[in-house]
């Protein structure tokens, strides 16, 4: 008896599944039609687009306004896809309609079906109606593309395909979340109006509350905080369909671009993180829905509320969002708070009247509202007291950081490409977190630091030092932490050192050198990645320049030679030590990447091709100067020597509490200068590792000395000068035209040479 | 043949019981005549089969009918004592009531004779 009953009862899940499908045939058909209008149409359009592109390539006279042809179809297809996604809400409402329609409660609950069977059969049948047409459309699209690929060359398209597939998976997981969250919302409700309201409320309030908490943090204490970083955090993007949509567009526009064209992208790991969190959240919503469903009573339908707590949670969240938005966006907190209380009070009143169906025991309603408002103020208060819940102070522990990427806006410290790399190197992570802590310390313990104020700025000798740094941490917990800081360059010394000595940098630099060489000869077609170079097996042209930015020659390299150069450079840089970096001499450069004299393999490579880089001669420098009569001494007007430069920065502005730094006192000194003794402070060390085209800091051509006597001493100094300076104060700066800035480091020898030069001239 | 008054105050099974006895007395049902099945009776009269079954059981208990397994229920040999007993008891109550009202035996006997003369043929109705 038991055997047959259990076999029979397992069957009931299947029976319910089938009867659900049959009951909702119409929706299934509509969804199928929408899906057919969606992706398959897009595939056909892709084929057409590729075909027309090819025709245009072959015959430049052939031009068809692709845009005009495609746009109406794209609109239809996109519209169909959007509608089919939105159908998720509707399907959820249909499959669980007995939760909010009193007339059919008896019918569904009296069927010989256990709660578990009913729930999962209804859930899965709805999911099937929702997702299966999508899968079929996808398969159909691939078939179409496959067939199209036979006739039209679609290689361009296939390159992008993995990313499109990934973006597609985001959509599918997002759809499942829409469906599951809708059911989660419906489970709280007992009437049709409530169910629809609940779906809207839950879908809006989850991202809104998270967003508003973040907003509170960022506006309360914003030092270093990056507002948009919430959009990169799975806490926001993987917990609601709205968040998923944000992530989808982020991935599609930023992420794909980065992944395809740049060296390393944190979007790849962000995608995986998002996927994991999104799937886990969907499962959690499902489990929560199931448990709440089981607890529900049949008689709850058509009662004012099934779960009282839900109404209050929605109310509290709404109040919180409205209040925090008002407080954050207005100057006068008191007036914002008052208007917020009034608005929320009205809304709360309405909600209570609906929930209680009248005015029963209405005296408890204001109590509830007061409690919620107090709660909101409490949260905002805690936020203020803890400086945004300690968020700005928080620096992820280096062991918890999986990768970090850093962007320094003045590329003289780190080249632009470094900003596209995710560093996993432990030393880099340690250095970045240490830097982060330094910046945070300077802000929160501002008075512990002494900054010597500088008084008047003398443009010729004074150099303004300001770095904007953007850091992005990916932690092992799946969160993305972003920070923006304004700092002085010396603070980045350890970071620069750690990065430049890391293997990841070595690979990136070597790759970039090879890619630049290939693109120097490749007409029209830009190759972005070294992997593309390898698969295309292309060679290129390597140009060697010296410290002053002048070309020392160039050489054509076949593919094999290019690879050899790549590997040689990479090996050299990997074996570079920090000491070699600090003290080394720059022999030559490939674009912006220097070759130190310790780079044996690279130098050997160059030597093999008869490319030796000698020292800088007077003839290299001379350009339009003239002989003063003395054969050995030239007057060069394209060299600038700045003795004892002074470096200054604005620490109060960077690190001070917001009001102190920005709006400090000005005084007019009679020379059309606005100065503030407190604003500018002298700094006694700088860091720079790459040549900067416009020279370091503000450099006005007005202050170039018209001529400089180029004697042997100066020539020696020029040869000793280096573009790399790390956490030191140079005793002199040499500018060559507008292309090169070199530093004279503070050594005994250099001092003597400098003294001698000034003595002689 | 059977008339069950669903609106009457008399319990249905009692009606069935009385109905059958009445038919036997009136000669409409003779010994060994087959009664309708419980099912047929219940459907015809529009009453609960359990009630019918109960009536049949009571009839069987008092010996008015007998049942043959697999075949049905049949009228037993009519035993006037069974039929007459209950109705005589009713007569007793009526007679006593008359006595209470001061109707003496003489008047009662004359009354009885009148009924028999008016409605029947001498000694029989």
């Amino acid at each position: 008896m038991t055997a047959t009953t259990s076999a029979a009862s397992k069957n009931f899940f299947g029976k319910r599944f089938v009867t659900d499908l049959l009951e909702n045939k119409k929706v299934l058909i509509i969804n199928a039609l929408l899906e057919l209008l969606g992706l398959p149409v897009v595939s056909i359009l892709a084929i057409v687009a590729c075909y027309i592109n090819k025709l245009e390539e072959q015959d430049t006279n052939f031009y068809v306004d692709l845009f005009v042809i495609i746009v109406p179809f794209i609109c239809v297809a996109v519209g169909a896809i959007v509608l089919s996604i939105l159908l998720g809400f509707v399907i959820a409402l249909f499959h669980f309609n007995y939760l909010y329609r009193k007339s059919i409660v008896d019918m569904h609950y009296s069927l010989p079906l256990s709660n578990t069977q009913r729930f999962f059969a209804d859930y899965l049948s709805g999911l099937a109606i929702y997702i299966v047409p999508v899968i079929i459309a996808v398969i159909l699209s691939f078939i179409i593309l496959g067939i199209g690929g036979v006739f039209v060359d679609m290689s361009e398209f296939w390159k992008v395909m993995p990313y499109i597939v990934k973006a597609g998976t985001v959509v599918i997981v997002g759809m499942m979340m829409i469906y599951t969250i809708s059911i989660f919302s419906i489970v709280f409700c007992g009437s049709t109006f409530e169910a629809i309201f609940s779906i809207l409320a839950v879908n809006t309030l989850i991202p809104a509350t998270i967003g508003c908490v973040w907003l509170a943090i960022v506006t309360t204490s914003s030092y270093g905080m990056v507002g948009e970083s919430i959009f990169y955090s799975p806490v926001f993007t993987a917990t609601s369909p709205f968040g998923a949509t944000v992530f989808f567009f982020l991935y599609l526009f930023e992420g794909v671009d980065q992944s395809m064209n740049d060296i390393g992208s944190y979007y790849d790991s962000m995608y995986i993180r998002w996927m994991i969190v999104a799937v886990v959240m969907t499962v959690l919503y499902l489990v929560a829905s199931f448990l709440l469903y089981k607890l529900r009573k049949a008689e709850s339908v058509s009662k004012p509320y099934v779960y009282k707590a839900f109404f209050y949670a929605v109310g509290a969240a709404s109040v919180f969002c409205i209040m925090s938005l008002l407080i954050a966006s207005s100057i006068n907190i008191i007036s914002a708070a008052i208007s917020g209380i009034i608005i929320c009070g009205v809304g709360w009143f309405i909600m209570e009247v609906i929930a209680r169906r009248g005015f029963k025991r209405f005296w408890t309603a204001p109590l509830g509202f007061a409690a919620v408002v107090c709660g909101v103020f409490l949260v905002c208060g805690i936020c203020k007291v803890t400086d945004g819940f300690g968020a700005p102070r928080h620096v992820p522990a280096s062991i918890s950081v999986e990768s970090v990427s850093i962007n320094v806006n003045d590329n003289s410290i780190l080249p632009y490409e470094v900003s596209e790399v995710s560093f996993r190197d432990k030393d880099v992570i340690k250095a970045v977190t240490a830097f982060n802590k330094d910046a945070v310390n300077r802000h929160f313990h501002f008075d512990d630091y002494e900054y010597t104020s500088i008084g008047r700025i003398d443009s010729e000798y004074d150099r303004y030092d300001h770095q904007s740094v953007e850091i992005t941490y990916q932690t092992i917990y799946g969160s993305t932490v972003k920070r923006d800081y304004d700092v002085m360059s010396f603070m980045l010394s350890d970071v620069a050192e750690a990065i430049l000595c890391s293997d990841e940098y070595a690979e990136m630099a070597a790759d970039e050198i090879a890619v630049a060489a290939v693109n120097a000869t490749n007409s029209g077609q830009y190759i972005g990645k070294y992997s593309a170079v390898k698969s295309a097996k292309k060679g290129g042209r390597l140009e060697i320049i010296n410290k002053l930015g002048q070309s020392e020659g160039s050489v054509s390299l076949g593919y094999d030679s290019l690879v050899k150069l790549h590997d040689a450079y990479m090996k050299d840089i990997k074996s570079m030590t920090p000491e070699q970096l600090r003290d080394g001499n720059v022999c030559c450069m490939f674009g912006q990447y220097w070759v130190l004299d310790s780079f044996d393999n690279t130098l050997d490579f160059l030597a093999e091709r008869d490319l030796s880089v000698g020292s800088i001669e007077k003839s290299d420098i001379y350009h339009g100067g003239y002989n003063s009569g003395d054969d050995d001494i030239w007057l060069a007007d394209n060299v600038d020597l700045i003795n004892s430069p002074r470096f200054y920065s604005q620490p109060k502005s960077f690190f001070g509490k917001s009001n102190e730094g920005r709006y400090s006192r000005y005084y007019y000194d009679g020379y059309t200068n606005y100065n503030d003794d407190d604003r500018y402070s002298e700094i006694d060390a700088i860091t720079s590792a790459f040549p900067n085209e416009s020279g370091r800091g503000y450099y006005s051509s007005d202050y170039v000395s018209s001529e400089v006597r180029l004697d042997d001493t100066l020539l020696i100094l020029i040869n000793k000068a280096t573009p790399i300076i790390i956490n030191e104060k140079p005793i002199a700066i040499i500018h060559y035209k507008n292309t090169s800035t070199l530093y004279i480091r503070d050594t005994v020898e250099n001092r003597e040479l400098l003294e001698k030069y000034y003595h002689d001239n | 043949m059977f008339s069950i008054d669903l609106t009457s105050r008399t319990p249905i099974y009692e009606q069935i019981y009385e109905n059958i006895i009445g038919l036997i007395v009136k000669g409409r049902l003779a010994e060994n005549d087959q009664l309708p099945s419980v099912r047929a009776f219940a459907k015809d009269a529009g009453v609960n089969p359990n009630t019918v079954a109960k009536a049949y059981q009571e009839l069987e208990r008092t010996g008015i009918i007998y049942s043959v397994p697999g075949r049905g229920s049949f009228i037993a040999k009519p035993d006037s004592s069974v039929f007459q007993g209950a109705v005589l008891a009713d007569f007793d109550s009526a007679a006593l009531a008359c006595a209470d009202r001061g109707i003496d035996k003489q008047v009662l006997t004359e009354h009885l004779n009148t009924i028999y003369t008016q409605h029947g043929k001498g000694e029989q109705l």
Binding site: D106, S110, P112, L113, K297 | P11, N50, K54
Partner: protein, 309 residues
């Protein structure tokens, strides 16, 4: 067999069933009586597994009903709603239920459908109220469950259909021991169709008995007693007739005539009245309706407040 043991069912703060004990044997047609809102539908819904009791047991053939597939399979519940089947056709609805009730009989369904001429392929929401009722009744019967629960279900059935349904019930009761539970205010109907009845009031069972024995126990008495020595009418009170085994539900006097409703077996009743030497003592059986009204009157649910007596 159906059993409710000390069942308590609450809706928020309102207690609908306050410790209900009920036993319903197989093969009976059981009537659930009660004032409006007494809890009759609640009991039926507990038995179909729609509601879950707060405490106590609700058992079908010894198995608890709630969330129990094998127990629920034995029960078919017809409620008093008419809007629920919406866009199903009769055929669609039949197939829907056929999936869940394995004993479903196509032949029975077809023969019933043909007798009352219901169309297979029209949507049920185009049917009249009576036809909608008929539709679900024939499906219920075709499912051949052991238990059939009807909540005010004879409403909307025309007299012909009533007779058809009653005949079908007879067959089912005899063939497969169908147990029917009917909740209704129409006591005439209960009287015809049911053999057992229970009265529910204020969340408790007042009585649960075979209707015939119920009727045999409650008597409507009209009595006239001799006048007093001084010629005034004798003025007896209810307590004057107290006796063991006798419960007086209703006691009324108009001049010399006493109208009494008494509960007890006949002989006990007569014996209680004999000492007062009644001039007239008429005892007639009550209708089920009268039993209902007088039982509830005793419990305080009556029409007196309105009539102002």
């Amino acid at each position: 067999m159906i059993e409710l043991k000390n069942t308590v069912k609450k809706f928020d703060s309102y207690t609908a069933l306050n410790g209900v004990d009920l036993k319903i044997e197989k093969g009976t047609a059981f009537g659930l009586l009660g004032s409006n809102g007494a809890g009759k539908s609640t009991i039926l819904r507990l038995l179909s597994g729609i509601y879950q009791q707060e405490s106590g047991e609700v058992l079908i053939d010894g198995q608890p009903v709630y969330d129990n597939v094998s127990a629920k399979q034995k029960v078919f519940f017809i409620n008093d709603e008419t809007v629920q089947f919406g866009s199903f056709t009769l055929k669609g609805l039949k197939n829907y239920y056929k999936t869940y009730y394995p004993n479903f009989s196509e032949e029975l369904f077809e023969s019933l459908r043909k007798r009352i001429n219901l169309p297979l392929n029209k949507k049920i929401n185009t049917f009249s109220k009576g036809m909608k009722r008929q539709a679900i009744v024939i499906i219920a019967l075709a499912c051949k469950t052991d238990y059939l629960l009807l909540d005010e279900a004879f409403d909307g059935l025309d007299p012909t259909m009533r007779i058809i349904v009653k005949k079908m019930l007879v067959d089912a009761m005899l063939d497969r021991q169908l147990t029917t539970i009917i909740s209704s205010h129409n006591l005439k109907e209960i009287n015809e169709v049911c053999d057992t009845a229970a009265l529910l009031h204020n969340g408790k069972i007042v009585f649960s008995r075979e209707i015939d024995s119920l009727k045999g126990e409650v008597h409507k008495i009209q009595a006239v007693f001799p006048k007093n020595a001084d010629g005034t009418p004798a003025a007896y009170l209810k307590e004057d007739f107290a006796a063991t085994g006798l419960e007086i539900l209703h006691f009324e006097r108009s001049q010399s005539i006493y109208y009494i409703i008494a509960k007890g077996d006949e002989d006990t009743v007569r014996a209680a009245f004999a000492p007062k030497e009644p001039l007239l003592l008429e005892m007639i059986p009550l209708t089920l309706e009268e039993i209902f009204i007088y039982e509830l009157e005793v419990l305080g649910y009556d029409s007196n407040d309105i009539s102002g007596k």
